[in-house]
Symmetry: C7
Subunit: 92 residues, 7 copies
């Protein structure tokens, strides 16, 4: 996870999605139901937050986020997602 | 109810849903009507709240919440719900 | 009206609906029109209010509330409604 | 207009609708057009207002309000309307 | 334009609509297009404004307002409109 | 551009639309695409702004604004637009 | 990139879109998926920001923004986009 030359604005973060796996190193299994499933990834870049609201996640955090959150971008040939911190449910 | 390796963000909490039972240890019966029915569960992880608004529920609280509240996640093979504190109606 | 083992969150209250009666002890008659009719009940549990906004109703108050307000719950075999204070029109 | 045993919450008021009349003692005629027509009534009970916003109408004021404003209630056999102060257009 | 016995609430004003004329004393011609046309009238009564926001129009001002703004009322046999100050575009 | 006898309220301004031209004195060409095109005009009257927010445009400014912004009015035989300052994209 | 004679209002910026290229000097590849793709460009003019919120991007920044963000304008024969700073995802 080398340092990326991208700086998200305000409360946005860049997430590297985890490879789809049935059972993770943390023992989290994304359940197979009809409900919207959260996804797992690692924060690789963070913005400076909004006025009076610094971000609470940091680079390196493994996070859960909504299935349809964020916008896809590719940096140096790899796919990432850029999303707002409020799209993130939890840090694992 | 062992400690979970998950930290919800902001005003989110992780709830372990109670097994569906007609009559609980607390004497609560979820009524069988056409209205949306609240569900019962136990808080297993809480966030740090929003700016100037710490959470009022804590780990171990038995809570009532809306039937369609939250997002399903599975941790170490068990199903949980992650939701906002405002989705919770009451502590029992 | 014994003390209930339920604590509503924030600005929510638990109301015990009055039995449907045409004319109450207070002389209130719920009119029979096509408009949405308010209902009458007694507050049996109250939350702590929102930040800087304590509740203005208290346990024991007889209140009028909207016909479709609140969520049904059953405690110790009796039906109650849990709703926000803003769903309450007036104290009788 | 005896004192009513009802206390509206927050910014709500109880209005006794005026009898439908073509020309009032004040010379106001409700025009007969396709537009929503305001109605006239007398304030019979007022709430304590919202935080930092006391009510500006008082018991005894004759007011104009929107045709579909408020909720009907009956107290001691008479019909009243309970509405928010913002539903009131003007004091006559 | 005698003094009217009506006091609008908050940020509301009472306007006496100008007679429909093609060219006014002020040289304003309401254009004949498919767009919503503003109307002209004279302020005959004003409210006390909202908290910390006194009104900027006053009785006697000739104003332009949206074609569908306000609610019709009749006082002493004449038609008026009661509307919010924000429905007024400009003072002529 | 004589002084107009019109005073817009709050954050409204009166704009004299520029004649439709393919290439302006400023070298701006409104592109011919399927997207909504901004229009060019000159500010001829401004309001006093909203509480704590004075206007940043002034009489004489050449401005770009959205194609469907504002309401048409005619003053002394000429067509103008009255719009909010937020409908203006930029000063040229 | 000569200085442009245009001053965006408030939190708006003018962006010169980058030529569509598969792989940029920065190694960013816009992925070819069904999702909304961000676009890349260079800031050529910035507004003064909103009250208490100065802009965080500046002239010369290379930025990513949403595919459908902004309004097209042409200045001195070249196409630009005028958009709000919040439409910008990140600085590269």
């Amino acid at each position: 996870m080398s340092k990326l030359s991208i700086k998200p604005l305000a409360d946005r973060v860049v997430v590297e999605p985890a490879a789809a796996e049935e059972k993770t190193a943390f023992g989290i299994i994304i359940p197979d139901t009809a409900k919207e499933k959260p996804q797992k990834g690692i924060i690789v870049a963070v913005g400076n937050g909004k006025k009076d609201e610094p971000l609470t996640v940091q680079v390196g955090d493994t996070v859960l986020y909504g299935k349809y959150s964020g916008t896809e971008i590719a940096i140096e040939g790899k796919d990432y997602l850029i999303m707002r911190e409020s799209d993130i449910f939890a840090v694992l």
